[in-house]
Symmetry: C2
Subunit: 444 residues, 2 copies
């Protein structure tokens, strides 16, 4: 059997590796446009901020490493066509167009950065950050800049804005919506983070689309906002999200939903022998009970695990998602899972909220840090979302809440749960418990 | 209504505070032998090691603070009798014996340190550590010592041994059993911790009971082990656990089990209007489905919450326990929940184990630390225990596993769960997932 995988990102390459562990015989080919494979795009901002010292550090494996596992990775290869009746793809490498037959095809085509409509977007110094090469180019360009503007205040946008600040640039972070991290945080929690970014010297411009980028000698120099104000911008990063790449899926005849390719819980598309994983597919939301996009590396990796099982003839299901996330910017760690209050309201779910400022350690223990926790429950008290910001120990608490939401626990149930305690590492009553107790009180 | 609470530790004082929040009218009296109330005994080792600078720091509230809440705390008061027919207690304060009537009586009498049978245990310089005064006396004595021996290598024993080392003493930590932390860790995991303690310069003596303490001029000088070897000991700490204090419970006519007072899930004893919480009661084990003792501060605090609800006429249940714990010694954080493999085997439960060494952050991220995880499942793959040791981020992972065990998840289910990821704070596949995948493989 020959499995052909289009795309060398987390979804594609993990499918290849997992499948090889399950089946030593199957022929596996991975085709990617990129000139590298198996690196961590999530780590690019941390290389820019010099927290990680080199782009080389974030490359995990080479083409030779895959060859040793009998996985054929073809770099700088563009797949241009799919014929799902013939079970054949067309690809171009070094200008030569060829075809390849498959028994099973995996579309792991990811997403392309969304470019918002604005004048001057083609000027030199305007970048997206998706690949390692993008990262390298940005780093090089930034070294000759005094100012930078990042548009889009999602995770990547914030991380990159902070990195530029660490590089010594004058930095503007702007977001069309009236708050940062709109997908994962409510406005009140986002504000804690915004205040921190401002404290770190970043100009944060909210609720203002950019209408134009102005240049000199073909190089970007300034950004103009809707209200006419301007910001210095010797470089501009478009961190305005990605859209699923659907061209090949459409050629293959795969059904697509509102945002991306439709797959079942075994990662099969609607076309026989064509599968898909990663940023190019839709996921099923565990809370909304409808489709959503989950463009997270962890989602791609978990989908790849399921797909490898499917291709190896084993039974495995990809579960509905909660889109749990975490990030760290400077000293602040922030994370979220499930629905925000805003999103619940948009979906006509009555939200009951508990919000507390607790501590990361016993009150009397040195270096106890404030921990802000917000828990969102539905009208029955079932937990449907959580947001946490603190200088430490956020990620694992998000995981606990992910499990609580998956198990459909109520705030009442969680408030009686056991939490491990020692003065150097936690409070005798955990911040999560204090938060769900706050929610519980509202049901009295 | 008058509620009389005997004991001012976590169980007693939390019952008082929680009850006051629920009922402004009820009369609340707390009687304690101690000369302080509302301090954190778990923090005493960290004051000894100077991580916390003063014993004053770990006192949370004074008698006046409680008076302000209309809670009457009587210090240095010994309750000597209970007549549950008359609903009356007898107590002695400043040599004067008096009686007090109650409508509801709460026994939060805690435990007394177990003193193992050995010669010389009455020598000066032999201490137990239970109260703040014990802590102060130990600190004062230690300042004139060159060597110290701690017997009992549970959490408190280890924390105190480490504290003495930080004070510059020659330290011996000894344990009758062949491993440290026998209640929570399997021998292989305990060894990681033992190696670290040895690396820190602590002499660890395992599998050797002390037969005799030798003194000079009435002061302890040496400990003699069963095999005849000796260790220097200018002071000795008995950290050999506590036994529930049952005298008053027996006077009241409460039924006791093998170890402690029997209570139902609303914290009522078998005698009408007599309740009990904390180290003096038995809990129900969620896994073994039989009684156990859970002498943890967090258990006392959670029981107090339930009892306050009961006393206020509200419905609340105290859930079966898993005895989740965490501690930090020097740079190492270690935690556990549920059954160890050893304990499972003693209870004829067939255990299937996954053990991995992963990392606390992405491999390429600076300061990623090794994280040792051991997961124990039963023959169906249901998770029944977990042990973790690392330099960071242990406690919250124990909490996630506590929830997984409470929900009776299998290793297969947990391996498909979402975990939040960002390179500075976690691995793309969480160490817990890697561990449960290891277990899952054994079922193929």
């Amino acid at each position: 059997m020959k499995v052909v995988i289009v795309g060398g990102g987390a979804g594609g390459i993990s499918t290849a590796s997992n499948l090889r562990k399950l089946d030593e015989e199957v022929e596996i080919v991975v085709l990617t446009r990129d000139n590298q494979v198996s690196y961590s795009p999530c780590a690019i901002p941390y290389v820019l901020s010099d927290r990680i010292h080199s782009f080389d550090d974030i490359v995990m494996r080479t083409v030779d490493d895959y060859k040793a596992k009998n996985i054929d990775v073809m770099l700088e290869t563009e797949v241009t066509g799919v014929d799902s009746a013939k079970k054949q793809i067309t690809y171009s490498k070094n200008g030569v167009v060829q075809t390849m037959n498959y028994d099973k095809l995996v579309l792991a085509t990811g997403g392309s950065p969304f470019v918002p409509p604005m004048k001057g977007v083609d000027l030199d110094g305007v970048f997206k950050i998706r690949t390692l090469d993008d990262g390298k180019q940005v780093k090089e360009w930034a070294e000759n800049c005094k100012s930078a503007l990042v548009t889009g205040a999602g995770l990547i946008g914030i991380e990159i804005a902070y990195a530029f600040k660490k590089m010594g640039l004058k930095v503007t972070l702007c977001e069309m919506l009236p708050q940062i991290v709109p997908r994962s945080l409510d406005p009140d929690m986002a504000k804690i983070l915004t205040d921190y970014l401002i404290e770190e010297g970043i100009d944060v411009v909210l609720g203002q689309p950019i209408t134009e980028l102005k240049g000199e000698d073909g190089k970007v120099k300034k950004a103009v906002f809707e209200d006419g104000t301007e910001a210095d911008a010797d470089m501009v990063i478009l961190a305005t999200g990605v859209r699923a790449e659907l061209n090949l899926a459409k050629m293959a005849g795969c059904d697509c939903g509102r945002w991306a390719i439709l797959v079942n819980d075994r990662m099969a598309t609607t076309v026989p022998d064509v599968y898909a994983v990663g940023d190019c597919v839709e996921s099923y939301s565990a809370i909304l009970r409808s489709n959503t996009v989950s463009q997270l590396g962890t989602t791609a990796v978990r989908q790849a695990k399921t797909l490898a099982q499917t291709l190896a003839g084993k039974r495995s299901r990809f579960n509905p998602v909660l889109n749990s996330m975490v990030s760290k910017v400077g000293k602040l760690e922030f994370g979220a899972v499930g629905l925000t209050r805003s999103f619940a309201q948009q979906n006509s779910i009555k939200a009951v909220v508990g919000k507390v400022e607790a501590l990361t350690r016993a009150r009397y223990y040195p270096n106890a840090k404030p921990m802000n926790v917000k828990v969102i429950c539905d009208a029955d008290g079932t937990i449907i979302g959580c947001q946490i910001i603190a200088e430490e120990r956020v990620a694992e608490r998000i995981d606990t809440m992910t499990l609580a939401i998956t198990q459909e626990l109520t705030c009442f149930e969680l408030s009686n749960m056991e939490f491990a305690y020692a003065p150097p590492v936690s409070m005798v009553t955990d911040p999560l418990v204090i938060a769900v107790e706050e929610v519980s009180k509202k049901f009295n």
